[in-house]
């Protein structure tokens, strides 16, 4: 889940990181009042969940409250990359001595949060890491043990920062690491972290992303502290018809679970896959063997025949889909015969030959003997758990590419 800048600023503020005196406004009049309270030059920033604000004219500077109101009025009407702003952030134009970067990201390989610090802030950390790796300090923190200031200090010091700057930046990075863990973030960054002319450090901009699955247990932060409504899901893109249809099929029947995504997928092999992490593994297995998935899906929890059929039909009706692969890992308790009935029925209802349309059926598990009888009757190639997920995916890819399986 992504956050607007004004929310991210609030999150770091709640964690004890100093911020400037900012204000979130939804009207020009509010912006004028906030600029008046700040009492000096301000910057007006569009609050949109997309990048490229500066280039699009969504960030403007103002010397007077009247100018701030005028800019706010313009920015509030300005669409950026298809997004209308939720409001504007009015921020003092800070007297900056130096800009730094402080961030914490989830390192999926190490399965730990990774602290990052750079004395070259204000620009993309990826660019700094590529061109000036000596200016980026890194260090993992534990998932369980408390984050100590000493760990953060080592990361900051690795960039050559010393003295009072080291002492001021250290608690900021340590607090960022703590808020990352406590709030189930996948990304928490302050860029730029500014050293002002008076020597103090403040977060001038912040970017936060929360693990979507954690939303349910972060109600205190989301609902009470930030006032985010329960239905404000912050999807990064408009769901496709395929995604909406699969969602509707799932919602209409309580039995089992199906999900479907096709954002960014343009292949010819439809996937009806699932079970215990099987979907990700199988999608990777298809891709790594040269296959082009038409979608991503998840099916499990003993869906009805109608639900399995509905998912398979949606996949088969996608543009460009030539065949489907029906695969699951072996930890599933989903009944093989029920899914077999569902996907075969989908083919039949669309006037397709199941034997030609289903490239491979690999769902080992409950009632598999019964399922295999159905698959045999319709001439569908199937395999049991003696064939790995990798091999099954490879067979599907070979079949759709016209090579011998």
């Amino acid at each position: 889940m992504r956050f607007y800048e004004y929310e991210a600023r609030k999150i770091v503020e709640l964690a004890g990181v100093p911020v400037t005196k900012y204000g979130f406004c939804t009207s020009a009049e509010e912006a004028r009042k906030v600029a008046e309270e700040i009492g000096g030059p301000v910057v007006i920033k569009s609050q949109v969940l997309t990048g490229g604000r500066m280039k699009a004219g969504g960030v403007k500077f103002a010397d007077t409250p009247e100018e701030a109101a005028q800019h706010a009025e313009e920015i509030l009407k300005l669409e950026i990359n298809g997004h209308m702003p939720r409001g504007v952030l009015v921020d003092p134009k800070a007297e900056v001595k130096q800009e730094y970067y402080a961030g914490v990201v989830w390192d999926g390989t190490a399965k730990k949060p990774l602290m990052l610090f750079s004395d070259m802030g204000g620009i993309d950390i990826e660019e700094v890491a590529e061109k000036h790796p000596e200016h980026v300090g890194k260090g993992h923190v534990s998932n369980l043990l408390p984050v100590s200031d000493f760990e953060a200090k080592q990361v900051v010091a690795a960039t050559g920062v010393t003295g009072s700057q080291l002492n001021r930046a250290t608690p900021v990075l340590a607090r960022l690491a703590r808020l990352f863990r406590e709030n189930d973030m996948t990304l928490a960054e302050i860029n730029p972290l500014a050293e002002l002319t008076d020597g103090s450090f403040v977060a001038l901009d912040a970017h936060m992303e929360m693990e979507a699955e954690a939303v349910g247990r972060q109600k205190k932060l989301l609902r009470k502290e930030l006032g985010i409504a329960e239905d404000d899901t912050r999807e990064t893109y408009e769901p496709s018809d395929f995604e909406k249809n699969v969602g509707a099929i799932d919602a209409a029947d309580h039995r089992g679970v199906i999900q479907g995504k096709d954002h960014g997928f343009t292949g010819n092999l439809g996937l009806v896959i699932g079970a215990g992490g099987g979907s990700l593994t199988l999608t990777d297995a298809v891709r790594n063997q040269g296959g082009q998935p038409a979608n991503y899906s998840e099916i499990g929890g003993n869906p009805s025949v109608a639900k399995a059929c509905g998912l398979a039909k949606e996949v088969l009706e996608k543009d460009g889909v030539e065949k489907i692969a029906v695969m699951m890992s072996i930890v599933s308790n989903t009944r093989v015969d029920i899914v077999a009935r569902g996907v075969i029925k989908a083919c039949l209802e669309l006037g397709k030959d199941p034997g030609e349309t289903i490239a491979i059926f690999r769902i080992p598990g409950a009632w598999e003997d019964e399922g295999f009888k159905i698959l045999e009757k319709y001439g569908v190639e199937y395999c049991d758990r003696s064939v790995s997920m990798w091999e099954a995916a490879g067979r599907a890819v070979s079949k759709i590419q016209g090579a011998p399986a």
Partner: protein, 81 residues
């Protein structure tokens, strides 16, 4: 192209002897987990659109007198005993 095909994998039949038995009609509606049977005012009605959902649980067979409910697996030509 048909919108929805029914009874592709399973067929269910009830003998005339129980078709209008109100008690059995109510019992069949109660026990079937996938709503294949409907108590239609004291008569047994088969809901065609649900027949392929049959999970082969045998509860309908156990809830009715022997030999009066037939659950047929069309994919292998056998009948649930």
């Amino acid at each position: 192209m048909p919108e929805q095909l029914n009874k592709v994998f399973i067929d269910v039949e009830v003998e005339d002897s129980i078709r209008n038995d109100a008690a059995i009609a109510a019992k069949l509606e109660e026990v079937c987990p996938v709503d294949i049977y409907k108590d239609a005012g004291g008569a047994v009605e088969i809901v065609d659109s649900n027949v392929d959902e049959c999970v082969l649980c045998r509860l309908c067979i156990e809830a009715s007198p022997p030999g009066t409910v037939h659950v047929k697996k069309l994919y292998d030509g056998t009948e649930l005993q």
